[in-house]
Assembly symmetry: C2
Homo-oligomer: 308 residues x 2
Amino acid sequence: MSNILVFGHQSPDTDAITSAISFSYLQNQLGKKTEPVALGKPTEETQFALDRFNTEAPRVVSTVSEETDQVMLVDHNEKQQSVADIESVEVLAVVDHHRIANFQTANPLYYRAEPVGCTNTIILKLFKENSVAIPQNIAGLMLSAIISDTLLLKSPTCTSEDEQAVKELADIAGDDYEQYGKDLLKAGTNTADKTADQLLNGDAKNFPMGEHTVRIGQVNVVDVDEVLDRKAELLEEMEAQSKGEGYDLFILIVTNVLDSDSVAVVFGKDADRAAKAFDKKLSGSTMLLEGVVSRKKQVVPQLTKELS
Amino acid sequence: MSNILVFGHQSPDTDAITSAISFSYLQNQLGKKTEPVALGKPTEETQFALDRFNTEAPRVVSTVSEETDQVMLVDHNEKQQSVADIESVEVLAVVDHHRIANFQTANPLYYRAEPVGCTNTIILKLFKENSVAIPQNIAGLMLSAIISDTLLLKSPTCTSEDEQAVKELADIAGDDYEQYGKDLLKAGTNTADKTADQLLNGDAKNFPMGEHTVRIGQVNVVDVDEVLDRKAELLEEMEAQSKGEGYDLFILIVTNVLDSDSVAVVFGKDADRAAKAFDKKLSGSTMLLEGVVSRKKQVVPQLTKELS
């Protein structure tokens, strides 16, 4: 009989990859014959966790029905986030922490969803309920997922169960989770290998505000200085692109995912008005925006109001 | 703040009513403010359990949004089985043992489904996982639901977890579950108050078989003799109806839900061929059909083959 395949969502993050590994391990200990797979390659952050805990990345698949009739889903349930041929196989089990939608089965199944910060927080409970011991490397991967999903326990989605799970898993993994967590998140926000153009435009959009054309990029980091040390290079690139593209204002939001603050690097003739939008003054073309993490909700409306 | 309402499906059976009571109790012990309600009145079987364990039937509702914004579902998830205005409220939690279909939420929720025989088998696990003690009367109601859903552990849907749950709950309820289970199932299959016509036609269908018109009724009992003692009265009624309606053969399948056997009462000119279909001979217009519980799968095809 073919293995039951266990997998997380498309464009997998650390929880999607590692919850497939941890849940598959648990199921195998309980007598099932399963294999973890993934719907994409690991991100840099996930690869950092896999390397640290000596685990191979799961095999990448995009369809499954040619090799199995039965699957288990982790960290997702909606069919458009799953394998292309999800409707050709039977879903035996789901472990997830998202809303339920676009999901339907013909038969009763095992479904375990809880409104916590990370799928692996639920899987830890399943290990305990079934009295199965967690190997050190799998505990490390589960720990990595919770750190990733909760931004080291600082996200608004983090619950007391996630906090408790991080402590228990860190004990098994033998790790100082605070130090490791920073290293892990940093691996996922590596900026050193990126060009100034990649930093500015990797996630950037144009916003018309009154008569002005404003371009706003955002980059997530755990070490703001790693980007700010390149301020001269960035401003030079912003100037060149503003001339070429006709931007009146170019802003790069450098967001520290650990402390939920951002520093804005600002270039253009409207730079002072941009600062005024936040009741700030620029210092060397930058300003600190305390508590700002969302461009959509915490930057664009304020600038629009000032410039329109 | 209004109570969170907890309820099972429409046309509630014993599991639908009692899982609302047991899950609501558990949630209240965990600090929520909930109330069990029901989408219909208790059946005779359910009322027997409620009386035995000194519990009032839950208040009956058909809509909920006029009194609460939040609900918890037990023993169902499909919206057409739920309250009419289910899409106007937020579903905080679901505990169920059916397939998932026609169910969608906007937010993450608690969802616990397992492919076992009864919702209360899952709720027993939730009590244990949360270290909440089960009061004697609630244990008795939970026990009743598992007995009902599994036909006293004899249904093909019954799992080893259901069996174990029955033993644990019977210990808390202080009951001999085998004796109580028979009494409970019997309460749900009361035939004493029914007329011969109600017994024959309460669940009956006509089947054309070759040139013959065959009418087959079925009645579930725990005491076959309670029906067979009325054989003369039944045959008299079958004769009258056969003449009036032109049946060539009238069969009443009296199914013992405890031992999964049936006795057929047979009237008509084709009676001997009906017996031959099962390699039987009639004795006083009856025959024992060992292991037969399904008219659709275990009676109609055999008769059709013989008479066509």
